[in-house]
């Protein structure tokens, strides 16, 4: 039998997180293959963000076990950090720094040399397309561009696994679409993308989906299989049934 920690980008079993007596994440288990686009669905407060934070080493799991990029989430979170990129729900770059300065700063956080950072920024500008905004203050950019910039910052150290926590919330459909093209590009280059979303059209783009409800994973399958299982034509209908608890 092969070791699941090396076979999968993310492998989690019985992972829980409590806040006081509130169970935010309740013994979830799943695996994400390398190069997969893994979708994370669920109502607000279902435990998506808490799960992502545990996998990124921001929160200590209360119990259970898991590996990210082959490293233990309990013990080796400092090593995990080198291999993952994270883009949080909230725009979390510096408004008073230019796009380039923001990226340079985050490059420095990963201990990259000035030359490496410069080269990497040029690459990112090519793929993400921020070149014409490079010297504008981040605070002056429209939201769609801010999100591309956040993605670029999360990719600065060329991580293997990218966690995107509702990356497209509040963005217009055109920007969302072009953002998803970027996600596909990443997956094509072998990156694992772990993305949470509220948009059902985006859910369709994922290789596999998990639906969370009250801290538990209630569904985990490919979008087409889910629609088949529930006998409905859209992800919207699948989602509503899954989170309402009619179907277990």
């Amino acid at each position: 039998m092969r070791d699941p920690s090396t076979e999968f980008a993310v492998h989690v079993s019985e992972l829980s997180r409590l806040f006081g007596s509130f169970v935010a994440v309740d013994r979830i288990s799943f695996s994400v293959a390398r190069g997969e686009i893994f979708g994370f669905l669920g109502a607000n407060g279902a435990g998506k963000t808490t799960t992502i934070r545990m996998l990124c080493g921001l929160l200590v799991p209360s119990s259970g076990s898991g590996t990210v990029a082959g490293f233990d989430v309990m013990r080796d979170y400092e090593r995990i950090k080198h291999r993952i990129g994270y883009m949080s729900q909230k725009f979390s770059l510096y408004d008073d720094l230019t796009v380039r300065e923001n990226l340079e700063f985050y490059g420095g956080m990963y201990g990259m040399s000035g030359r490496d950072i410069g080269e990497r920024i040029s690459e990112l500008f090519l793929s993400v397309g921020l070149r014409e905004h490079a010297d504008k203050l981040a605070g002056d950019l429209p939201l769609g561009w801010k999100q591309r910039m956040s993605l670029a910052a999360a990719l600065i150290h060329d991580p293997d696994i990218i966690f995107l926590d509702e990356p497209t919330s509040g963005v217009d459909p055109v920007s969302r679409r072009s953002f998803w093209l970027l996600i596909y590009e990443l997956a094509d280059r072998g990156k694992t993308v772990f993305v949470s979303t509220h948009y059902m059209d985006e859910a369709e783009y994922c290789n596999r989906l998990s639906i969370m409800r009250l801290g538990r994973i209630v569904e985990l399958a490919r979008p087409a299989d889910l629609k088949l299982k529930y006998g409905v034509p859209t992800m919207q209908a699948v989602f509503l049934q899954a989170v309402s608890g009619d179907e277990t």
Binding site: M109, Y110, G111
Partner: protein, 367 residues
Amino acid sequence: MNRTFVSIFKKELIHIFRDVQSLFMVLSMPLLMLLLYGYAITLDMKGIDIGIIDQSHTPESRQLIDRIASTDFFHIAARDVPVDTIGDLFKERIARCVLVIPEDFARTLVADRDARVQLVVDASDPNAANFVTNYVGQVISRQNASGNPGSNTLFTVSPRVFYNPDMRSADFFVPGLIALILILISTLLTSIAIVREKETGTMEQLLVSPIRPLQLILGKVLPYTMLGFIDGVLILVVGSIWFNVPIEGSLLLVLVMMMIYVVTGISLGILVSTLAKTQAVAMLAAVMLTILPSMMMSGFIFPIASMPRIFQYVSTIVPATYFLQIIRGIVLKGNTLANLYQQAAILLGMDVLLIALAVRTFRVRLE
């Protein structure tokens, strides 16, 4: 290690220089306070309004009045009003004190050599009342001395004042202000700089990167250390050029001690930042923790020895208490390290303790 630290340091500098308003505040506040304490707030009294009721109308009484009028302590605000209106003079704030020279002043002065004048003082400000009584006493004793050269006093005190011969308030306040401003600026800016990252969500982005708490803390804090330091030097320079506060001791020693003291403020600021969730809370906490104790319980204005016992104990844990002794010692008395090693050691001990606490409480995970 170094690249990360340098990146954070550079980023903080950009924050500082792009936020011109805050930078202006940070640099102008010490100067403003310096002007305030240098000019407006002074413990010396001059031009005290005095009322004089001369019932004697003799050359002797006029001589006494001339003597009072000739000092710049007093300004004669009322003359020969009825005795029963003295209360009104005080109520209307026309005079702070009234000197009543009785009808028999000249006669008893010559005949019995035991003349009495009455001084009525408004003691609603007891400190000022004290000053007034002292000043009047001094004028009168000088008058006595000139009246009878071979007087029968057994001995007199001739004071010789060290370190601040003119007893100027500025000499007292300018070094004191450094103690106040340094700790305020370093605590305030440090805590705000860190809490801002928490409030805007950028802290989360930093914590997913492999930085170490020490890199983050040092990189963030060092630029603000420099700002606090610049403020201290600014006060020192302006104080010595504009207010002629002499710097008797070693300037180098002053700078080294300032450094130790700034570190105290910074570690306080880091501690505040680990507890505060918003910038507003951090600001309030920093001000309460620094300004109040540094002003009230350190000897900045009020001597510690005359405080109630409990506040004397409190003053021993206020960093400003020690820095005030250090800075006044060096600037006014020309103290060397040999005179100040105790205070310096206590401050250093506080630094070590606070840094240890700060690093312990500063987490790389959210929870």
